[in-house]
């Protein structure tokens, strides 16, 4: 009995300690869920007809889900028999690489993870970098079905494809010449052009370049830096990476859409194409003015990202400074600052934003300010608690003994060491800011109504809920996807930055 129990525990432990197995089971569950969602959507329940396109997508997803399940079982058998994954099982990962045609991010990344045994963080980042670029190209290519494209479409697409090829080469080189402690010195000549490709908005390229340069610099030095440690933990977390991927993908798409998407399709009325259902020409259909919903959502991403980041950055800076001063000086300073912030804290964020917008009018700048003001106290409290903790450390005493001024102690020694919880908190609250932005726009209190912003699109969609419900569903899905990504990323960052887990 005890032996059986022990062996059962041992099995569970053996399986859980293998990152591939964990990711494999996670992937097939997610992939199965996606397939089921597609299957449900492929039937038109009212008409009793089958939507051929959605059903094809379902079939493709289902196929790769079955492959995924088989791989999971094989990995399980391998682990239990030999404690290691066999080479033949790893080769099956190449099949999953093909799922890139279906756009299933989870199976693709799993395939990339399976085919390589030793995965330095640079490899994972390079994979996501390439995927981001390919997804952006694929999304932009949907414009080919439109009657006309913007003038910059062809050159922009050409550049994107060249960049993607460069990044594919980079991925292969990284896979070959980078291990967890060593990077070939000549890769400097790869890192620099890769950093340049970040101009397309692909932040993964920037991160990869910096990581490579940092690794080359400390070749042979066994010391770990905080930065690389965080990336090792973050790249091992597939949900966090999926979140980061979607955020960077949207950012990259927002940057590229300037050249590859035609803004006039999104804002100009087209009375010959009013309230069309989704088709290849208009992937998400058109609204009551004949505007392409898909382009509107793509252009809305940039507003959501800008407002989300700005209305998080402003309170992080103001609240951070107030909290740092309050926590460092303590006593009366602390009392006065925190009591004043308590006043702000007592008003719910949305109501304060409504009051501010009521007073100064509804536009994007006011919206950012209104959302920022309400968030200051939360950051100030987080920062204050950290600063109070950090100011008791010896190196702060040492700095004081050196004769550093209070200002330089706070901003050179204390603040950099108490940033981690602020980063986690701000990542988690960018999502909330995105929701607030669209909620206020929905109420008519946010972004100006003529700008394609997700809340504005939804506001129009809500009036056509009965007849053209897709007008309300797609922008909502976009909001959820973005917010969910930020939340996943925030959770992953918390796990990566939390010193308690070390």
């Amino acid at each position: 009995m005890i032996k059986k129990l022990q062996s059962k525990q041992g099995t569970a432990h053996q399986l859980k300690s293998s990152p591939e197995y964990r990711q494999a089971s996670f992937t097939w569950v997610i992939s199965l869920t996606l397939s089921v969602i597609l299957l449900l959507n492929s039937f038109d329940f009212a008409g009793g007809a089958l939507k051929p396109w959605v059903f094809t997508a379902f079939a493709a997803y289902a196929l790769f889900t079955i492959v995924q399940m088989i791989i999971t079982l094989l990995i399980r058998r391998d682990l239990l028999r030999t404690g290691d994954i066999r080479r033949s099982t790893r080769l099956l990962g190449y099949i999953q690489l093909l799922s890139i045609i279906t756009g299933n991010l989870f199976t693709v990344t799993f395939g990339f993870n399976l085919v390589k045994q030793q995965k330095p963080p640079e490899y994972t980042i390079a994979v996501y970098m390439l995927l981001t670029q390919l997804y952006v190209i694929a999304i932009s290519a949907l414009n080919l079905f439109k009657p006309y494209v913007s003038n910059t479409f062809l050159p922009a697409m050409f550049i994107l494809v060249v960049v993607a090829i460069l990044q594919l080469i980079a991925l292969l080189l990284v896979a070959k010449f980078v291990t967890s402690h060593y990077a070939h010195p000549k890769l400097v000549w790869l890192a620099l052009p890769i950093i340049v490709t970040a101009a397309t908005g692909n932040i993964f390229a920037l991160v990869l370049g910096i990581n490579l340069l940092a690794k080359i610099r400390k070749n042979g030095n066994p010391a770990m830096t905080r930065w690389s440690d965080v990336w090792i933990k973050l790249t091992a977390n597939s949900t966090a990476m999926a979140g980061l991927f979607f955020v960077i993908f949207l950012f990259c798409l927002s940057v590229c859409s300037v050249f590859t998407f035609d803004y006039s399709v999104a804002i100009d009325n087209n009375y010959s194409a009013i309230l069309l259902p989704p088709s290849l020409e208009y992937p998400f259909g058109t609204d009551n003015f004949g505007r392409d919903l898909f382009s509107r959502i793509v252009f809305g991403a940039r507003i959501s990202l800008i407002v989300g980041f700005a209305s998080t950055l402003i309170p992080v800076i103001i609240g951070g400074i107030l909290g740092a001063i309050s926590g460092y000086y303590g006593r009366q300073t602390d009392n006065i600052i925190m009591r004043l912030l308590d006043v702000l804290y007592a008003i719910p964020g949305i109501l304060l934003a409504i009051a501010i917008i009521a007073a100064f009018g509804a536009n994007t700048v006011n919206l950012i300010l209104a959302l920022s003001v309400g968030a200051i106290p939360t950051y100030a409290r987080t920062m204050r608690a950290n600063v109070m903790l950090v100011s008791t450390y010896e190196y702060v005493d040492a700095a004081r003994a050196f004769g550093s001024s209070n200002f330089s102690i706070i901003f050179k020694h204390i603040v950099p060491n108490s940033l981690a919880p602020m980063i986690v908190k701000s990542t988690l609250t960018i999502g909330a800011a995105v929701i607030s932005t669209s909620s206020l726009s929905y109420l008519g209190l946010g972004v100006e109504p003529h700008i394609p912003e997700w809340g504005n699109i939804l506001k129009i969609g809500s009036t056509y809920l009965e007849t053209n419900s897709y007008l309300a569903i797609y922008p909502g899905l976009a909001i959820i996807a973005l917010v969910l990504s930020f939340n996943f990323l925030g959770d992953g960052l918390r796990d990566a930055l939390d010193p308690k887990l070390d």
Binding site: I354, A359, I435, Y442, I479, I480, D491
Partner: protein, 480 residues
């Protein structure tokens, strides 16, 4: 010690003088006490000045001073200082007149002499186990006389109330917390009014239309007091909030407090119902997830919770309406107080975010507690799994969960504006949103401030409940 003596005498007067001693040691309450009981304290101070003349300290000081003077200590000191000063001036090559030097020496010598005198006197008193008379001691002696207490009762009533409140740590904590809340609410009123006052919009022009003559606008402004200065308007609004009389709204000529009183209960009922349901769902889910970390259950629940956190309220409302009202026609799409079915969807929408965050918080705080040493002790004692979980884990994990609930309550009250708009509920949130286009200053202000008051009061109650339920906080409170 005077204080302990008084306490030994026991009774009311004893505890009054002990507390008086304590308050005078507290840097911030000291001034409040002196101010509140100013007439009584003045009398005590006069007595103190008189009695101080003949207390042990003064006597010892006089004796030691004459002894020091007699031993020629001052002259020796002066000579020494003169020497030092001369050397110093020589070293720095400063020219200084004889008279100036004399003055300098005299000043330094006096200061040093005083210091030495104080040191010696304190030492002497310490040796003889005596102490210097303080104002609190004078008060002790006076209050010991019942006559003084009775006479001072009327002029010093406020002071005695303060002493009474300060005596019990719980009362002190509650009153402090309430006072802070009132200050915060006052701050909220000032802040919201200032924001609305700074508004570049002109309500008169918005309501009367573009064709309004300047006279009409002036009359409108006069009627609603908009022609008065900032401070007058602010004072009127704050008074209006305190007396529940905010006057008539700019448009529609309705009584604002009345409308708010009619709409507030709807929002509050909705919030409270979804709060209760959310907690009832979230706590078990969080606990189950924490007891089986990283299991399939755990992952699924936490994934669903994360999705719940990421869904915008209004979109969720629209999707529910689409599915349950339009397609299936099970539930009515708009809220109607007579039909209880119509409350189902708003409650679900409002409660989703809370359920998600409470479930996540419950999981993480239970997980943190579950690895504590006392849990191992409990298991070692042979307690059942249920008992360990309920009595040891959840009870200790519940504190941060309650905090999250308190915070989320505020978020729900604010977020209800969106939900109310989706389901066409005439609650306080949609009232504020409707009024903001004008902008109807007193109506918005009333709505926001009354909501803030409700939230603050709920948080005060939660804080006070903590203090009673959590022994750690209780013992910390007593240490003051």
């Amino acid at each position: 010690m005077g204080g302990t003596e008084a306490a030994r005498r026991g009774g009311l007067i004893g505890s009054i003088s002990t507390t008086y001693h304590k308050i005078l040691l507290n840097p911030s309450y000291k001034y409040l006490l002196l101010l509140l009981g100013a007439p009584v304290n003045l009398v005590v101070f006069l007595f103190y000045l008189v009695q101080r003349r003949k207390d042990d300290y003064t006597a010892a000081e006089n004796r030691i001073r004459s002894a020091m003077l007699a031993s020629g200590y001052l002259e020796a000191l002066q000579a020494e200082i003169a020497q030092q000063q001369k050397r110093k001036h020589e070293f720095f090559k400063q020219k200084i007149s004889e008279q100036q030097l004399q003055q300098e020496v005299e000043r330094i010598a006096q200061a040093r002499f005083k210091e030495e005198l104080r040191d010696r006197t304190t030492k002497e008193l310490l040796l003889n186990n005596k102490k210097r008379l303080t104002m609190a001691d004078t008060f002790d002696r006076l209050i010991a006389n019942p006559l003084f207490f009775i006479i001072s009762l009327i002029p010093g009533l406020l002071m005695y109330i303060l002493i009474f409140l300060y005596r019990s740590p719980y009362l002190k904590y509650i009153v402090e917390r309430l006072a802070m809340t009132i200050l915060v609410i006052f701050g909220v009123a000032v802040l919201v009014f200032t924001i609305l006052y700074l508004s570049p919009f002109n309500p008169a022009a918005n309501i009367l239309g573009e064709t309004a003559t300047p006279e009409q606008i002036a009359a409108f402004n006069k009627m609603h007091g908009l022609d008065q200065g900032y401070l007058t308007q602010l004072w009127n609004n704050i008074k209006g909030i305190a007396y529940f009389d905010l006057g008539k709204s700019f448009s529609g000529n309705e009584d604002i407090t009345n409308s708010i009183a009619r709409k507030f209960p709807i929002t509050l009922t909705l919030t409270v119902i979804s709060l209760i349901i959310a907690i009832a769902i979230a706590l078990p889910i969080g606990i189950i997830s924490a007891t089986r970390p990283n299991s399939f259950f755990d992952y699924t629940f936490m994934f669903v919770a994360l999705i719940g956190l990421s869904i915008p309220n209004f979109w969720q409302g629209l999707i529910l309406i689409l599915n349950f009202s339009i397609k299936l026609q099970w539930l009515p799409a708009t809220f109607n107080p007579e039909n209880w079915l119509s409350i189902v969807m708003p409650v679900i929408v409002l409660g989703t975010g809370l359920t998600a965050s409470v479930a996540r918080m419950t999981r993480s705080s239970t997980l943190e507690v579950i690895h504590e040493d006392y849990m191992i002790t409990a298991r070692a004692k042979g307690l059942g799994k249920q008992t360990i979980l309920m009595k040891h884990a959840v009870r200790n994990a519940i504190i941060p969960i309650i905090t999250v609930i308190g915070l989320q309550f505020g978020g729900m009250m604010g977020g209800s504006a969106v939900t109310e708009k989706v389901f066409n509920i005439s609650g306080i949130g949609s009232y504020i949103v409707d009024k903001q286009f004008i902008p109807d200053i007193p109506a918005i202000m009333g709505g926001v401030v009354y909501t803030a008051i409700t939230i603050s009061l709920v948080n005060v109650i939660i804080d006070i409940l903590y203090a009673f339920f959590d022994p750690r906080i209780r013992s910390k409170m007593k240490q003051y």
